[in-house]
């Protein structure tokens, strides 16, 4: 019943667009070079997390600047269980989700109980993520700042259960996850809770006076978002095979996560996907372009990246998707 109205108000044009996108993405590994495949993996990774972040910010209006916390908790939980006890990542995920969700509950409870909102909430999320970063630096069980490594070997076959295998396996896992996240978010938006979230995002006081228990629904948003994000952490751990607190929990990771959905369009379903494609694509193109003109000195790429980001946000403050949807002639509801 939750998914029964998934295709309500979806135009034919939109369906064709979606189908074409899916076919391209599912077929991509057959044509892509190894390099392109790693780029696509990165894009899907950011599209998935962006979708998860968007539930909190785009739907419920709570600006989290510390989502690296949930990625890190997911990554460390599953990797440590695997390294220490040989527990596979899917079982690890069952532990990782509650741990990340619990961290979300902690932040959410503190903030929402004591009416910490807006910028203050954002700073609180950064603070907890930073707290975790320094904490994990000194946490011996996960090898502290010297890093936690997963055993790596030449994988001849793809072991889906233990997530040991080649990039293409991770590509398909992330593709499926991204599609599921998209469908799930669409269903959420169409649900009773989705309406309540949007009301809270728009005007919390007015939402309360319309009978909405804002505390409860904000908490649910945090729990869903953090739980979903931790899955990306599990994939991160098993794809890269090494974890350093300085990298995983760093504030620049949190910022990376949210650039995509903001550039793509906060609160829209396509925003996180478009943002991930654009920003990752832009980043890789800049590397190649700067290399071609012999300008590949450290920092040059980021300067151009920053300038592009600046131009996009100045030209399209609501993000790309609302603008693109208008250009594509899609209806109001499909934005």
């Amino acid at each position: 019943m939750m998914f029964s109205r998934l295709f309500e108000n979806v135009s034919r044009r939109m369906l064709v667009l979606l189908a074409a996108l899916l076919i391209v993405l599912f077929g991509a590994p057959f044509f892509a070079t190894d390099y392109l495949l790693t780029v696509l993996i990165l894009i899907l990774y950011f599209a998935y997390i962006g979708q998860a972040w968007n539930i909190m910010m785009g739907f419920a209006g709570q600006l989290s600047l510390g989502h690296a916390l949930y990625v890190g908790l997911g990554a460390y939980t599953s990797a440590a269980l695997y390294v220490h006890f040989g527990i596979g990542p899917w079982i690890g995920l069952l532990v990782a989700i509650p741990i990340a969700a619990l961290a979300g509950v902690f932040i959410g409870y503190l903030a929402f109980r004591f009416k910490v909102g807006g910028v203050y909430f954002a700073i609180l999320t950064i603070a907890v993520a930073e707290f975790a970063r320094v904490g994990f630096d000194h946490f011996a069980w996960t090898k502290g700042s010297s890093g936690l490594f997963l055993p790596v070997a030449q994988f001849t076959r793809n072991d889906l259960w233990l997530l040991r295998g080649q990039p293409v396996m991770f590509y398909y896992i992330l593709l499926v996850a991204t599609v599921l996240a998209f469908v799930f978010c669409r269903a959420l938006l169409q649900s009773r809770m989705g309406y309540f979230w949007l009301a809270i995002r728009e005007d919390e006081e007015a939402a309360r006076s319309a009978g909405i228990d804002t505390f409860r629904y904000k908490m649910i948003a945090v729990v869903i978002s953090s739980g979903m994000t931790s899955f990306a952490g599990v994939i991160y751990a098993f794809y890269y095979n090494n974890l350093f607190p300085e990298q995983v929990f760093h504030i620049s990771r949190s910022i990376e996560i949210i650039l995509g959905p903001i550039v793509g369009g906060v609160g829209t379903l396509f925003g996180p996907i478009i943002g991930a494609f654009l920003l990752t694509g832009m980043s890789e193109t800049l590397i190649a372009a700067l290399h071609a003109v012999g300008l590949d000195i450290p920092g040059a790429k980021q300067v151009f990246y920053g300038i592009c980001l600046l131009l996009v946000i100045m030209a399209l403050p609501d993000g790309i998707w609302p603008w693109l949807a208008r250009r594509l002639g899609l209806s109001e509801r499909e934005k």
Partner: protein, 290 residues
């Protein structure tokens, strides 16, 4: 450890904290008036630090002497940034402002990286290793000078807001944006001025910090965060609060570094932030919001 060690470290932390306080004051002034969170605050400080380093290594100009000129440069920079880039964003949602300033921060960090490389640089003045002794208490000369300069700048800024016509006009803008427009204040100009002043504060703090810490291009984000922690701890919009928050955080970090391990010290600062958010969300010196 003998008691003197604790005392010396505490005084050192307190003095450094005053410089932190000046840095945070810049952030507090900008947010209090313009209502924009300057996510490039630490990066602006890093720019001031590199200016001080270049002037010192190329022309042997002492940072203490160059504090005011460099702060003036940062003032112009902040003014231009607000008037040219940030102003259209003041009515946009927070995430939009955040993205804008993050983009600016990314550009700043990496321009510095291109210009100066990733290695740490520092300034070695003739008084770098001097110290004053008061009984058993030993105080680094650099820290004492830096703290004195920070307090002087903070007092000057306070006087500016209290006793000058422009300062009063800026406070009026902060209290009531529409009201300020109605009585004919040039709000755009005043906002840019405020952003300039905030930048000058962080610039002055940066020049002072050059005497105490080593500088790398990637220093920015950590100091941006530190400034947030201090401002929220002390109370947003309260000038004494920023200094007090700075002292508190400086002291906490120094003591935590001594008692536990230096690499864990920022954890305690964040711990304080969380406690303040919970039990006194308006900050130690902040006014209660109803």
């Amino acid at each position: 450890m003998p008691f003197e060690v604790y005392l010396n470290v505490a005084v050192g932390g307190l003095l450094t904290g005053l410089v932190y306080g000046l840095m945070a004051l810049g952030l507090s002034v900008i947010f209090g008036v313009v209502r924009v969170v300057n996510f490039a605050h630490g990066e602006m400080m890093t720019i001031a630090m590199y200016i001080a380093i270049v002037l010192f290594s190329a022309l042997h100009l002492d940072p203490m002497v160059m504090m005011v000129p460099i702060a003036a440069v940062l003032f112009c920079f902040g003014y231009a940034l607000q008037a040219g880039v940030i102003n259209p964003f003041i009515t946009r949602p927070e995430h939009s402002q955040f993205l804008l300033l993050v983009a600016i921060a990314i550009i700043m960090i990496n321009v510095l990286l291109i210009l100066f490389g990733p290695d740490a640089q520092s300034v070695q003045t003739s008084y770098s290793y001097d110290s004053f002794q008061f009984g058993k208490l030993i105080v680094d000369a650099t820290k004492l000078y830096a703290a004195a300069a920070a307090v002087t700048v903070a007092v000057a800024l306070y006087c500016f807001f209290q006793f000058t016509a422009i300062g009063t006009a800026i406070r009026a803008c902060a209290d009531n944006y529409t009201g300020a427009l109605v009585v004919g204040l040039d709000v755009k100009h005043l906002y840019a001025l405020t952003f300039g002043l905030g930048s000058a504060c962080v610039g002055a703090a940066g020049v002072m910090l050059v005497l105490i810490v080593d500088v790398t291009p990637s220093l920015g984000p950590a100091y941006t965060l530190l400034a947030f922690v201090i401002v929220i701890t002390g109370g947003l919009g309260s000038m004494p609060g920023a200094l007090l928050g700075g002292v508190l955080i400086g002291l906490t970090e120094a003591m935590a570094g001594l008692i536990f391990t230096p690499s864990a010290k920022s954890m305690f600062a964040f711990g304080i932030l969380v406690l303040v958010l919970l039990f006194r969300p308006q900050g130690i010196m902040g006014k209660k919001v109803t």
